[in-house]
Amino acid sequence: MTRAWISLLAIVAIAVALVGAPVAQPKEVVVGVLYPMSGNAAQVGIDCVNAVKLAADIVNANHDLNMPLAKGEGLPGLGGAKIRVVVVDHQGKPDLGQAEAERLLTQEKVHALFGAYFSGVTQTIAQVAERNGVPHLNAESSSPALTERGLKWFFRTSPHDGHFSQAMFDFMRDLEKRRSVKIKSVAIMHEATQFGSDSAKVQEELARKAGYEVATKITYRDKATNLDAEVGKLKAANADVLLPSSYTNDAILFVRTAKNLDYNPKLLIAQNAGWTDPTFLKEMGKDAEGHITRAPFALDMAAKKPMISQVNELFKKTGGRDISDAPARAFTGFITLADAINRAQSTDPEAIRKALVATNIPADQLIMPWTGVKFDEKGQNSGVRAILQQAQNGKYVTIYPFELAAADAVYPLPAWKDRK
């Protein structure tokens, strides 16, 4: 009986293999997607993965949206091939990101790599891609150094902290002119991984160039259990403007500590990350009132770009909440990658790379406030534009550049006792 079953199974298996082999090559394109899905930034990572899955679904199924590959099913350039994503969790650890990228290339045979939020992790993955000659598209890591290393296989759709910080200093200048106020000094506070360190470095340079005194520069660990010393130092330095580069949990702890120790600069302009995590505003409420953050994406621009609401509705079905900055960038990056693979008409790495170089997505096909997606010789999108948003009445509204602004900037920050 058992023997009969085994032989039957064997026959079935062979039959499936024989019949399946030619048919079971529905050409598919496999993309390895790396995000932190556990650890401190798990929620951001999960949101980004949901955005990537949504982007893949928009490519694979028919959607009536004005963006590349939305209409029709699959990639027409590859005879309707579907995109499959293999999602892995790198836990925010650079070494794990590297190992997982290797595994994706050798075991999962992915055609391209995508990710990975943390600049420090993105860097190790970019090196794996470079060594193996596989395209790596990054949508949200903001360390300027990533595209300054002359990597051949690395592409970034998002602005980096050089662009963002430039916008901050432009804003300060313009604010000084408009309101005839005087800003003299800035304090820089940053978490110690690559994101924070590189952001602080570029801010220090820009401050010097713009003629602002850097009163203090403070480095801290994002997993800190106590920020009393950091806030104490900031208070002592008493700079006009605070420029923090923080992830979510440390941003929450910082604001609580600042409130506790009565530290309040005239302006707080954050380098995204923690400040644009939807959780931050939800949990901090009034305590974050008046805080400014740079943002590459703004939900309040939906009035000018209806596609933002359309994508947001789709995102809410899987993501369970409004699409925010990081997932919106992940979404845009993934569509860009799919568009390039489609134009490459092949899964050959070199063909995809060439297609990425030739990318040209116009502004009206994006949910971002950019002028388009077009890569320069370093692999950096040159169509980026940074905007600044301020928390007003519990919501982020765009305040800069002034021509895109939905509201006037509140200056200076309200005192703690007035934020009830």
Binding site: M37, S38, A42, Q43, T225, A229, G232, N249, L253, N260
Partner: protein
């Protein structure tokens, strides 16, 4: 660097240090009792904080109000951990003991994320909030209450292990398991009790912490690390000295950050830890 700032640092470090100490107390107690390091201790803290958060989110119970409940819950968890896991590895090689509690830690952390998501949560509008100013030094009321609560919990713990018969039996078991057994002490029961008390301590710490610190599945890891240092400074198994160990960690952390550079503050803590481990392995206050 003004005197005021240093004073602020001392007060902040002292308050936080007392909370570190209470977290470390359970760890130290369990180690002293059976020489097992509970690597899931940080996750116990995380569960305590989540328990407080959910009590607030679902029934609007302030973490301070639900504190006895949290302590009881974590006590039961400690007791269950002993009977479900630790009992089987009492005489196992050290590596197996490490893997057992470490595995439990991973299980609890992933379980919390699967159940409640990876997001950060805060208890909003806690019963005690705001701050007072004493001689130009800001003291956060939640922190003040938390450290006072930690001191009370420590006092109770100290009274229990030194003044009650059960507490003395606990100490006897820690000193010599076999002799205690011969004297008619049910050592299994003592071990389970140790885990329950250790759990309750971290339950109180978690409840107090939840009044001002964010809650998420990974929150325990950073605190547990500092708790291990506090235990080592005080001397493994020496519960009262853990109090001093925790305070030293809190003070070194804040003052190191203020006087030198914030990025170096943990270096001070761990440098002290290494010094103690190398030159006074019995801890600053321990006796061998």
């Amino acid at each position: 660097m003004t005197l005021e700032l240093v004073l602020q640092g001392v007060v902040g470090g002292l308050l936080m240090g007392l909370v570190y100490a209470l977290i470390a107390a359970g760890l130290s107690l369990i180690f002293g009792l059976m020489e097992i390091v509970n690597f899931a201790h940080g996750e116990f803290l995380m569960l305590a904080m989540f328990a407080s958060f959910w009590a607030w989110a679902l029934w609007r119970l302030d973490p301070l109000v639900s504190l006895p409940l949290t302590a009881l819950l974590l006590g039961v968890l400690g007791w269950a951990t002993y009977h479900g896991v630790v009992r089987f590895i009492l005489d196992a090689p050290m590596l197996a003991q490490i893997f057992a509690t470490f595995g439990l830690a991973v299980f609890l952390r992933s379980g919390a994320q699967a159940l409640w998501g990876a997001d950060f949560h805060l208890v909003k509008d806690p019963l005690v909030q705001g701050r007072v100013t004493v001689a130009g030094v800001f003291i956060g009321l939640p922190q003040l209450v938390a450290s006072a609560g930690a001191l009370v919990a420590f006092g109770l713990l100290y009274w229990f292990i030194t003044r009650t018969e059960t507490g003395l039996a606990l100490q006897a078991t820690a000193q010599d398991r076999q002799a205690a057994s011969l004297m008619g002490i049910d050592t299994q029961w003592m071990f389970a009790l140790g885990w329950a008390i250790g759990g309750a301590c971290v339950g109180v710490a978690g409840g107090l912490l939840a009044t001002f610190f964010y809650v998420f599945p990974d929150v325990g890891a950073s605190f547990a690390l500092l708790a291990y240092v506090a235990v080592a400074l005080g001397g493994f198994g020496n519960v009262p000295a853990t109090l001093a160990g925790g305070v030293v960690v809190g003070l070194v952390e804040v003052l190191g950050g203020l006087l030198f550079d914030p990025s170096l503050k943990l270096i001070g803590v761990f440098a002290l830890y290494l010094l103690v481990v190398l030159w006074r392995p019995q801890g600053l206050f321990g006796r061998f």
